[in-house]
Amino acid sequence: MKIESADLSMIPKNTVELDESKARQALRLVDILEDGEDVQRVTANFEIPEALLAEVGG
């Protein structure tokens, strides 16, 4: 069996659901934060509809 990835990460215990426009904004914000020179990792507790995530990711 091959391990694909192992990680220690923060997972939120409660989440916030976002509608489409807020979700887009949030994803953009996280992207831009991640592009920051000193930033190692960005974690957020939003819940995004699968459909939108597939659309943005694809």
């Binding site: 192992a6 949030a26 996280v30 920051g36 020179e37 930033v39």
Partner: protein, 209 residues
Amino acid sequence: MIAPDVGGWGGPVGAILGLMSGHSKWSQIKRQKGANDVKRGAVFTKMGREISLAARAGGGDPDGNFRLRLAIERARATNMPLDTIKRAIEKATGGGEGAQFEEITYEGYGPGGVAILVETATDNKNRTAAEIRSVLTKHGGQLAAPEASPGSSSSAASSHSPRAATRKSWSSLPSMLARTTWTHQAIRSRSTRSRPSWRPCADRSRRLV
């Protein structure tokens, strides 16, 4: 008699020719390559910092330092050269002078009140804080609280220990964010307020040194 003239103009003519080749394939490749190199460089910088921090916290041996092993694996997945990885470890464990990176976690809010944790490794807290604050405010968010900003933790400037830095920022959790409790998948600590939940892990890796 013409020859010396041409010779004399060799440089400028060459430069002009260089400009004129703006549509050549190579210049397109060059431009693209430049952008990719910048991106690759940025990724390697991030990976390198994580490797350095891991090596300093738990020693330079990946077999006894889980965090370092993860960092190396992730770096290898991005095709970071082994040499560069080795240098990052040596720099961190060699005790030599160099940029001292500090781990700081910033807390903020995004659109719709989403809680955001930004983990950073920085050699200049003021710059990083300003950067993150400005990104957050420009995109419908805000940095959590003044006491969570580096101003309060600057008293810990002498400490390069990521544990100390993180504990500081956790203990200054603003009340609203404290209501959003975070936990580590691996540890499941309930007490997020008084101590960082990954502390047991950090202690463990220190024992292994």
